[in-house]
Subunit: 191 residues, 2 copies
């Protein structure tokens, strides 16, 4: 059995308080690292969504992000990633302050890892689709008269790729926590 | 230390022969599962690359996959995934027959997991870019006169997504093997 507590209930949720100081320091370092990754992915995803959603000019007949399927995907994916990262930042701060996870521990670890993986693939796909669309616009000559629209679209796509990179790193960290929990019965780094 | 053999050399490469029968059966099952995932991702990636590379008609002036950046990405990504899957199938068969990995064990496990992750993101990105391009072509009316070109492009993109799904599953399996090795010092499933 991977977990010594098959029903998912940890009988001593606060036993890490009695760990050695080395473990405590390592745990605090990992939690801070995860919080930092969440903050970075939140900032980049929010910036990408805002850049994309403001990417239309007032004059009628000029292009708008809402007319382009891939640009709508970039906005939606980055908005989802931003909301998710905000929620995860809250969970991370909760954990640093209270020493326990908001959801029951196994559920929280599986939730984090599964969503990190799925949203990393989503962000990668949205970035690639947006980059293809931006390239296609440039190729079709639409950017000659609407240069600002194309540049702002490129920036939004690039910010989305930065958000993807931080979500993918967070997926590695949460995968490490999950495996650590499954193997040793606690989410702390192996010491 | 995660590994009891810090220099990466396992002093008894054949010690799994003396494991219990339960472990042996589990190991064979995991290796067969990985081989099956490799085979599926190879077939789908090869089919996607072939469908994409044959997607041009003889008559001059008609569209060809080579004129489209995203379609070239779909071809290149799926060709890379097919070659990689073929190599990994060879490694998997070698391991089933000989009981040891072709590369030194830690290197092989890190190699598998890292490449699975990277190529899964690559395949997802290529699929999304190709899907955006296919949609854009349909929207711009290019498919009215070139229906076969568009349908074949759609099929290639869909096959590429299937290859992505199997590479992502293989990444989970190789991640499990890697963690199992780092924690217990052997790549076999925890029994």
């Amino acid at each position: 059995m991977p977990s010594p507590f098959p029903n998912g209930a940890d009988p001593s949720p606060h036993h890490h308080r009695f760990h050695s100081t080395v473990s405590e320091t390592k745990l605090r370092r990992l939690n801070s690292l995860i919080l930092l990754l969440r903050l970075a992915s939140f900032c980049f995803a929010l910036a990408a969504a805002v850049f994309m959603v403001t990417n239309s000019s007032r004059s009628p007949g000029s292009p708008s992000w809402i007319d382009s399927e891939p640009f709508r995907l970039v906005f939606a994916a980055n908005a989802i990633v931003a909301v998710y990262s905000l929620f995860e930042m809250g969970a991370s701060i909760w954990e640093i302050l209270k020493g326990s996870t908001p959801l029951p521990e196994p559920m929280q670890l599986w939730f984090d890892f599964a969503h990190d993986q799925v949203f990393a693939y989503l962000a990668a796909a949205a970035g690639a689709a947006g980059a293809a669309e931006a390239r296609g616009m440039r190729g079709s000559g639409a950017c000659a008269s609407e240069s600002a629209f194309c540049v702002q679209g490129d920036i939004a796509v690039a910010l989305g790729f930065a958000a993807f990179a931080f979500v993918a790193l967070a997926a590695l960290a949460s995968g490490f926590r999950l495996v650590s929990f499954l193997v040793t019965g606690s989410r702390f780094p192996l010491s």
